[in-house]
Amino acid sequence: NPWDVMTNEVFISPAEPNKGNNVWSVGSERMAEASDTKHKGHTAGRSMPWGVETNKVKHQQIHSKRTDLLEFEEYFKPVSYGEKKAAFSQYPRPGPTPSRNPDSDQPHTRDVTIMGYSIRTHRFRYTAWLKFDNQTYKPDWDHIVAEELYDHKTDPQEDHNVVGKRFYTRHKREVYSMLV
């Protein structure tokens, strides 16, 4: 549990230039400093690679001692002054093909079996169409129905799904990991 490292202080680490795989971390000052020296806080708290890149080191005092999660969240302030590395959208489908599912444009939630999760970076839009449980509202990341990858650098109008192209294997892996 990443919150377990929290004591009385929240430490928000600076983003690692050109890597950005760690956005902010939660931990004691000592742990944060140690981790900052070692790995910019990567091990100190939870990692949100799609989040913001902060420019400055910020400290926030938590007024109470260690509390439960929700109480902690009440005190937590967002690192809200940076730039997003990705934007997300999603769309549900009742089945894999529109011809067999005429309501595929506006399915009722109880009929949704697939959810298309999209991540947009500055260059790519990647979409994973995943099996979706309409009772728990959770996707099954082990069951990918279909994928899309568009390279906006060469294809801003999204006319060419290059997800199967060998050239894009590395890019796909990167954006997929961000989406996950």
Binding site: K77, E83, Q90, P92, W129
Partner: protein, 459 residues
């Protein structure tokens, strides 16, 4: 010292606006707003459907948190008692009012526009919206139909008006009453307001005063450059645009299901209708902005679309997908302090004005004004070619509609929203977005100096 807030939401509006570089669009009033504001060029909805998108950005939580992917449930009962954007302002001393479509109607907002939580007074809905699906569109046979393409004579419509005209009149009247301090009950003399105005067009049917057609001669309307089904598109990604198919004009074309395509000649008409409906909405927004700027110059103005709309790209129409055209939205914010200072410093009129941009050189705004006067609306902003040396601030970073809530909260000086934990079902107030206030307040250089934006995505 707290500013007023005006939130304008336009239904199904993609960024076919002059200020977003669209060379065909004639939208001088929104462009004028953008001229003195921050334009977010890469803003995205979280789901390309009205109900889920609005619930998402009005609670600043993504659909997986609101658990709303359709239009059949109310988030407070279905997912959690999340505080809405207007509710937050209301609970922090604002008088909140709603006109037109803000929350998605029906069970999505508990058949009450989320009352009593969100609004200080009963939300206003235009009476003529009841005729939304009526067969009022003049067909080539001279009879009335339920079409997508639906230019109309306003005076001949049921109720003698159109919903967005009524919403604008109500909003203008509300502002005047608020300025007079007589008719609107407020808790304190200096109480600020949060007014949300929701426009129904250019949502289908594309019903608008027919005079706006002349802004876009059919010969000038091009087809989508990529109007073919993309190779490699998985079938699950396809949106069969059923919301168009049952309309009489589309049904008469016998378009095959699910891929179509729509004939080119009719695709051109739909695109013409969408642009005309957008200009019609722009004319009404101009009227609203004139009133706000005249009576309440210290107002934060936020302008967004709830999601995009495909205009034939990829052989698709409507929304219901993850394509760029379905999810990208206009997103403009004008800060009250910036407006105030700039108008003083640059001598810019506080009325929305046309401004010179190369894209508009071929367009005749006087014609536009002529049409507006015939819609029955009050007068548009005075035509002016006066241009400011200052250009709109464009921000090309990635932005999401869930960012709207924390941004407005920060700009208004209200207590900052905490970031949501992974499971926020028990947390009433939090955000899954991030504040853009640093961009709006002019700290853009700090941001841009640390990032490399890819200019290839510029419109």
């Amino acid at each position: 010292d707290q500013p007023n807030v005006l939130l304008i939401i336009v239904d199904d509006l993609r960024p076919v606006l002059g200020c977003y570089g669209d060379s065909l669009a004639i939208t001088p009033n929104i462009d004028a707003l953008a001229h003195d504001a921050t334009v977010f060029t890469r803003a995205y909805a979280q789901q390309a459907l009205c109900g889920p998108s609005r619930t998402s950005f009005l609670t600043s939580r993504r659909p997986d948190t609101t658990r709303l992917y359709d239009v059949h449930s109310y988030w407070r009962k279905h997912a959690g008692n999340f505080t809405s954007l207007p509710q937050y302002f209301k609970e922090n001393g604002y008088h909140t009012a709603s006109a037109g479509k803000i929350f998605h109607p029906g069970i999505v907002s508990n058949h009450s526009d989320d009352q009593p939580y969100s609004w200080s007074e009963t939300p206003y809905h235009p009476p003529t919206q009841a005729h939304k699906q009526d067969p009022v569109c003049l067909g080539p046979d001279g009879s009335l139909h339920t079409n997508i393409y639906c230019p109309v004579q306003v005076e001949e419509q049921p109720g003698g008006s159109l919903p967005d005209i009524e919403t604008t009149r109500y909003s203008v009247s509300w502002l005047k009453k608020w300025a007079g301090g007589t008719a609107v009950r407020r808790e304190a003399p200096a109480q600020p307001f949060f007014l949300a105005v929701g426009y129904h067009k250019p949502h289908i049917p594309l019903k608008f005063p027919k005079q706006f057609l002349d802004l876009y001669p059919i010969s000038s309307v091009s087809l989508a450059p990529n109007r073919w089904l993309p190779k490699g598109l998985p079938p699950v990604a396809w949106n069969p645009w059923n919301d168009l198919r049952w309309r009489e004009d589309i049904a008469a074309l016998n378009v095959s299901f699910p891929y179509g395509p729509l004939p080119d000649f009719y695709a051109r008409y739909i695109r013409q209708g969408y642009y005309a409906a957008t200009s019609y909405t722009d004319s009404l927004i101009g009227e609203l902005l004139t009133t706000v700027d005249h009576l309440f110059p210290d107002t934060i103005i936020a302008f967004i679309g709830d999601h995009g709309w495909a205009l034939g790209e990829h052989q698709e129409w409507s929304k219901f997908s993850n394509f760029e055209v379905s999810t990208q939205v206009p997103f403009i914010i004008r800060n009250w302090r910036r407006t105030h200072n700039d108008t003083a410093a640059h001598g810019i009129s506080q009325h929305p004005q046309s401004f010179n941009q190369p894209e508009y050189s071929g367009n005749d705004h006087s014609t536009y004004e002529h049409f507006s006067s015939r819609t029955g609306c009050e007068s548009l902003p005075p035509k002016s070619a006066k241009s400011s040396a200052r250009k709109a601030v464009e921000y090309n970073g990635l932005v999401e509609l869930v960012d709207l809530f924390p941004t407005l909260v920060d700009l208004a000086g209200l207590p900052t929203l905490p970031q949501c934990p992974r499971d926020s079902s028990q947390v009433r107030v939090c955000t899954e977005g991030m504040s853009l206030s640093h961009v709006v307040q002019g700290n853009l250089q700090t941001v841009n100096s640390n990032t490399k934006h890819n200019n290839h995505r510029n419109t």
